[in-house]
């Protein structure tokens, strides 16, 4: 649909329709974290299982929400599985940097490059770049990442 093709990219709809890593993990050993978007009632549950070497052995996603929050969670799960906690955190920073482009455009210097940490590639997650044109939806896209972050914080302590 004209005007929305940047938002609803095919790969996004695919992840929404066929979410990867849906389900639960036993806690413990896994950690469970919940996130809410009070605005629209979306909720996401992230289960992460991190081994002694700090590698994310498994991840599962629960909860419900719109196509953007659900596809973002699905892509995130695929992207961080098998990565170390440090790599997952770097990816989170990169993703959030991509999502904050709009804020730069509104507030700061529009030419200022978005800082994606060195050595991090977003891959499929690049498809969510169009969300920044729809500011209301940025919170949908970042919900699962914030939830993952709090899950990883719990692992690290």
């Amino acid at each position: 649909m004209p005007g929305l093709e940047d938002l609803y990219r095919e790969i996004i709809l695919d992840h929404y329709r066929n979410p990867r890593n849906r389900g639960e993990l036993e806690t413990p050993p896994a950690h469970r974290a919940e996130g809410f978007n009070p605005l629209c009632g979306d909720e996401v549950v992230v289960y992460v299982d991190v081994d002694d070497d700090g590698v994310i052995q498994d991840i599962r996603i629960g909860g419900q929400g719109c196509s953007i929050s659900q596809s973002s969670a699905s892509m995130m799960s695929a992207a961080v599985k098998g990565k170390t906690v440090e790599e997952a955190r770097a990816l989170t920073r990169a993703f959030k940097a991509m999502m904050s482009i709009h804020e730069n455009e509104l507030g700061g210097d529009p030419d200022e490059p978005v800082e994606i940490p060195e050595g991090v590639t977003l891959g499929d997650l690049e498809a969510l770049r169009g969300v920044v044109k729809f500011p209301v939806r940025i919170k949908c896209a970042t919900l699962s990442w914030n939830t993952l972050s709090s899950g990883l914080d719990a692992v690290s302590v």
């Binding site: 649909m1 005007g3 629209c40 009632g41 979306d42 719109c66 196509s67």
Partner: protein, 416 residues
Amino acid sequence: MTPSADHGLDVAAIKRDFPLLSRSCHDNPIVYLDSAATSQKPRVVLDSMTEYYETINANVHRGAYQIADLASRKMEAARANLADFIGAPDTREVVFTRNATESVNLVAFTWGRANLHDGDAIVLTELEHHANIVPWQMLAAERDIELRWIPVDAEGHLDLTDLERLLDGAKLLAFSAMSNVLGTLTPVRFLSDAAHAAGATVLVDASQYVPHLPTDVAALGCDFLVFTGHKMCGPTGVGVLWARAELLEAMPPFNGGGAMILKVTKEGFTTNEIPWKFEAGTPAIAEIIGLGAAVDYLRDIGMDAVRAHEVSLTAYALRTLTERHGDRITIHGPSEPASRGGVLSFEFGDIHPHDVSQVLDQKGVCVRAGHHCAKPLMAIMGVNATSRASLYLYNDESDVDQLSAALDDAADMFAI
């Protein structure tokens, strides 16, 4: 534009009264279907506020000079106008607040703290907006007060089977006259009488009622009525609390400060007369005047005509959406247009309401997505969020048709 058929409203002319309704969104003419959240404002309301600022702007109640007197009189004329609009026998019974939420909080803070004690019970309904839940929960948390809930049935009507038991020993019944999620009209008179028979005081949240139906507080039989200006063609920033004069007289004041006092010494103060006792500080003068103009506008059109228009448009919407979208649309709330207002909460296939409203927005169609500040009700309905289209006097059949057509786009996009 579809001419309005049988109810005597010239909707095309009404649309022209609302400047915002001539704009476009994403290159499509706007189709505004979110009046349950806030209504648009007619030019006469905007003009009345500009005129106040341009010709008589002065603080009220305190100046001896000409424009201060004019401003005070204009504001008090708006109060009398509001009283007349809701059938209040005494202008002093109309208290201006910031919004309906503040009106409920005022009652909870003053009447509630003076009259509700450990072991008392408050009865609410499962239809309530957070504005008529949280202030009572705050009070209940402070004291040992029990909250009881009148349930809703599958069609969204109140289930009154257990009413007598629920009201037994209760001090307050607080309920909404019309649900902002399901459009359900509740039996206000019946509930008021039942509560009074049980010895309870009655507060009615009429935020969705006063804008859409002729209102007469005597006929409704309640003790407190709260509503909000911005949903009835008025500006934001002004709401109303109506209560019987003797109740207001007996209540302690709300905020302390200027205007609510008669006398202040270092030792203490005496409160002003009602309604000013509850209006500390400089009021929203321009907005109150704007609300007065909104009431004039609605009265000229006629609330009976507004209601008749909305009943027939709601019937058209229920019919059109169901015929065109069949099983993929689920519209919540009463199926009978006469027992509901024009608030249509719906689910569309398995498309999330956020996505539905995003696609509709692209066609200029404004609907709300979310929990509509009624989370307990959403939990009972078993949903996290719905899409909600709500109708008002400036909507017509073509607006409903645009909504229906835009839903086809959503269906295409998400392949349902």
